[in-house]
Amino acid sequence: MSDAHDDRRGQIPAIVSSRWGLDQSWTLDAYRRSGGYESLRAALAMTPAQVTEEVKTASLLGRGGAGFPAGVKWGFCPPGVFPRYVVVNGDESEPGTYKDRILMERDPHLLIEGVLITCYAIGATQAFLYVRGEMALAQERIAHALNDAYGAGLVGRGILGSDFSVDVVLHWGAGAYIVGEETALIESLEGNRGMPRLKPPYFPAAKGLYMQPTVVNNVETLANLPWIISNGGAKFAELGAERSLGTRLFAVSGHVENPGVYEVEFGTTTFRELLYDDDYGGGIRLGHELKAFIPGGASAPWFYPEHLDLPLEAGVVGAAGSMLGSGAIVVMDETTDVVKAAWRIVRFFARESCGKCTPCREGTSWLEKILRRILDGHGRPEDVDKLLDICDNISPAIAWPPRQTTICPLGPSAVSPIASAVLRFRDEFAAYCGGTAEVTVPITGKAYLSTPDTVGARR
């Protein structure tokens, strides 16, 4: 790596992780001592429209999974329709994903400040902070932080002596992956079973919580706002490349020397750097070789060694047939039984399917049962093609981006691990099932069709 590159890395600010190492980082004292709530003060000196403009200038992509620009999302609230709500999606559950929980546990005030800036900008009069049920410590830290912030006049009526007033209510879930989908999250917040709503017409910005305009943003997305307001959207947009600006948190797990959560420059850092550099993943665990890696959570099609030089840029990764999703990179070395890995991910989707749409409810559980049968040594030579045929029924043409026969993307997500494992490691399936693991189902997703010789990896 060139010195120039190292120099640049040294200049990348920690936008969302700067306090993680501080003593008692979650307290109001620690937060204010390190500049906390000054961005809120600055925002209140601006007009709401100016705040929105800064966020649009920053081109902040949502960090939850879908990667939609936050400022644009805010703009979808129909003019003149009130009340408006802000709902924070803190239901982090995508396998491999571990960054919102750290943010909530170690820097809850940063999130609260981001929520307040959002409420001010869009004119929301109440905000709900939906934290995943299993995250007891995050709930405690946020409750504590909110109580302190109310006491200090930072939340509630007449914030910092202004005419801006909003209650921020801590709400929490009870164990359901699907609730991370924004319309399911709203259903859950209304006290219902967490089943997604059909879009259209139920785009939250237009018809969200209680059928009112609602902005649903991910925890990490909101945590970027204080920095953007203090430093300006343009400064944020100087970092990163193409569509992927600023910095971003990536959790690197699985077979690397240093599993961890790293904040890196978005859009320019490559998978190779993140997986192999000593500052980050530190390479594949001793004496082993990279077999495959999942670039964006369990829903993402897998990447292979030929993809290592791709940058962590949403557009580039999308064009290569996968996604950065929720910033979760799972690394598998050559000892990994990919049939088992695919089964384990599919079992997750089968368990977490809400049951509303038939292709997902039936399809995911059939896939899981067939894979289980294969692993148990009762696989049949035609099983591999059957798996893909079921995938094709859930998501026609096994394409990327996936086509949907369902209300939400959960069903099509179960296709990714199967198509990824089967097409690249067909001999492993053949070893389990006998025969040649013939595939007749047409497949179009680019990452699935990747071969070790693919040079398309270079920009």
């Binding site: 709401p48 109580n147 699985g254 088992k340």
Partner: protein, 208 residues
């Protein structure tokens, strides 16, 4: 069994008052009931239905959707071992099997003394700290077989009580909104524009 105690009814009222629509308090109230009894009883669910003005069946309908709500009694300690992909790659399944042996029960069941329920769970967001587990939703990271055994012994002997409350208790800190600081709920049928937005627009008009 048990309806909510008088103390919990007070807490419930405080929770309900934070929402524009009472039904939104459903999940927090179910957690409150589970905190009280360790699992959800029919009486508690009926009581919640009364408090938020819905049918008891609707409360059951919501409760039965979510993994964390237990409609049958569970152990004092619910041990959730993650076996999803990142943990599987680092020995999560082996850890689960080790605990099955240690506790003498299969995943999904409770020890005869009612102390432990063992569960094989999906990703709990500690992927870089695999293999991981939770006891009553408190995290334990990078757990070796040996560490898991010590943990069980400690729990059994009551040596972890400060760290791991009994099943049902999530956050030990409650949000409190002081009356004098309260902005108030945003009722869905209140179409008034927030003052700070209206001010902004009138400023624009003046300058125009």
């Amino acid at each position: 069994m048990a309806r909510l105690t008088a103390e919990n009814v007070t807490i419930a009222a405080e929770i309900i008052a934070r929402y524009p629509v009472p039904r939104s308090a459903m999940i927090p109230l179910l957690h409150l009931a589970q905190e009280q009894d360790g699992h959800l009883t029919d009486d508690a669910m009926e009581h919640i239905a009364e408090l938020i003005g819905v049918m008891p069946a609707e409360v059951l309908g919501t409760a039965s959707f979510y993994e964390m709500f237990k409609l049958e009694p569970v152990g004092e300690y619910v041990v959730n071992v993650c076996t999803n992909i990142s943990c599987m790659l680092q020995g999560g399944e082996e850890l689960l099997h080790h605990l099955e042996k240690k506790l003498g029960v299969k995943a999904g069941s409770t020890t005869p003394d009612g102390k432990f329920t063992l569960e094989d769970v999906e990703c709990i967001a500690a992927c870089t700290e695999a293999p991981c587990l939770q006891v009553n939703y408190r995290y334990f990271h990078r757990v070796s077989d040996y560490a898991a055994e010590v943990l069980i012994d400690d729990l059994r002997a009551g040596r972890k009580a400060h760290e791991v409350p009994r099943h049902g208790t999530l956050s030990r800190i409650r949000q409190r909104i002081p009356a004098d600081r309260r902005a108030g709920v945003a009722l869905p049928d209140d179409p008034r524009e927030p003052v700070w937005l209206a001010r902004d627009r009138s400023d624009d008009e003046e300058s125009a």
